[in-house]
């Protein structure tokens, strides 16, 4: 290896992305568990812990800027850094969406949900599975896997449409449901957006590996 220090920095940057995606995934899981359990304390923790996500994300951005300025990366290294810059933004936004869910949990407090939460946790499970897969595709530079993972966004979208239809029906049936219903719709919408962000991450991974710019959602 000719540029050991530089290449070690690239590896560290990849590791930071892995840590970031772990944190984001936990934030999603906990935001949904706190929603299900009406656990305001846990929801507040999710909101507070977002600062850790923001810190790592900012650090990744600084590291990328520094590598671009000092090392003038080219070819696969350039594609890696460009992908990291984009994935970093998508992960940070996904973290913010988990915070938005936690805020709704705080607002709902002990109010009973108008329906049992089935599809919303299922959406969260699919999104977390997508983040896991995207992380693996990123670490292993596996563009085929990135394509496969992006397809799961269809499942998230289908679940969102299902939740939306169901909630609309409940609202029409009884206007007293509207308050809780609109909050649940907001949550489902946030999860749907998360799926889009992970699809974007998959696009960045395909670019990183193949140099091709693709649209996967």
């Amino acid at each position: 290896m000719v540029r050991d220090k530089y290449h070690n920095q690239l590896i560290q940057l990849q590791e930071k992305i892995s840590s970031l995606s772990e944190l984001v995934k936990n934030a999603i899981k906990e935001s949904i568990i706190s929603l299900q359990d009406h656990n305001v304390e846990q929801a507040v923790d999710v909101i507070k812990d977002d600062i850790k996500i923001d810190e790592i994300s900012t650090q990744i951005e600084i590291d990328c800027m520094r590598l671009l300025a000092l090392q003038q990366p080219l070819a696969r290294d350039l594609r890696l850094i460009v992908a990291i810059i984009k994935i970093n933004i998508d992960l940070e936004r996904t973290g913010d969406l988990a915070v938005a869910i936690a805020k709704v949990t705080v607002a709902i407090d002990n109010e009973i949900h108008i329906k049992p939460l089935v599809d919303i946790p299922r959406m969260a499970t699919v999104v977390c599975k997508m983040i896991d897969g995207a992380q693996r595709a990123f670490c292993e530079s596996d563009s085929d896997l990135a394509y496969d993972i992006a397809i799961f966004d269809n499942e998230v979208d289908a679940l969102y449409n299902q939740v939306w239809r169901e909630i609309m029906t409940l609202m029409i049936e009884n206007p007293h449901n509207i308050r809780n219903a609109s909050q649940l719709t907001l949550i489902a919408r946030n999860l749907e957006r998360m799926g889009d962000h992970v699809s974007n991450m998959c696009e960045s991974i395909v670019y990183m590996v193949t140099g091709k710019r693709v649209k996967l959602n």
Binding site: R3, H7, Q72, P73, L74, A75, R76, L78, R79, G211
Partner: protein, 258 residues
Amino acid sequence: MIKLLENETIEIESIDINLWYDDVQALKDISIKLPKNKVTAIIGPSGCGKSTFLRCINRMNDLIKTCRVTGELLCGSTDIYGKDIDVITLRKKIGMVFQKPNPFPMSIYDNIAYGPRIHNNLNKNKLNDLVEESLRSAALWDEVKDKLNKSALSLSGGQQQRLCIARTLAVKPEVILFDEPCSALDPISTTRIEDLIGKLKKDYTIIIVTHNMQQAARASDYTAFFLLGEMIEFGKTKIIFEKPKQKSTEDYITGRFG
């Protein structure tokens, strides 16, 4: 390569060029087409044959006794290694700028006028015009117009290099070969030369050998990657530097060897 260059006019074409220094083979079956009015960069680690190939194009290698070349090298329809070729005329048509600025130990004016005085019989006024035009094209005129009779050696390194470019332009070449033209220059002079190369390609075909990858990426339209005497990859610069096809090209430009 046919599709890659389908919208280009080919200025230089090399067909299976092999070159030996004694019994050491420095170039192996180099076949490449270099487009007219474009900048082509040749990159590769030390000893890969890039400068050797560049020197083939205006037969500078003739000066090395042990050097032997086979294959065909065409400039337009002219066979560069043809029997009837006058090497002096060839080098007028295919000019060269070297790594270190090498002005003649004479005045700025005489440096530029040297070539035209040999090749053409110009009257004083025409010669003055040509000197000015060459210096302007090399983006040096404004800096030296009041001291044309001063020694060229009094100029800074970057100015000397632009003087050498002006000197090359004065004999009206068609092709200009740059052999690491900025490696002895500071960053500002380097930027000036790169800007100049960008402007010159309108009128000339430019081939540049450089160790500076970013320079190749910035200044050229096409890039050829050489390794151990072979041409590994040739393509549009933006593709070579973003997603090269060959692994060894990628390894070299990302600093994994070389």
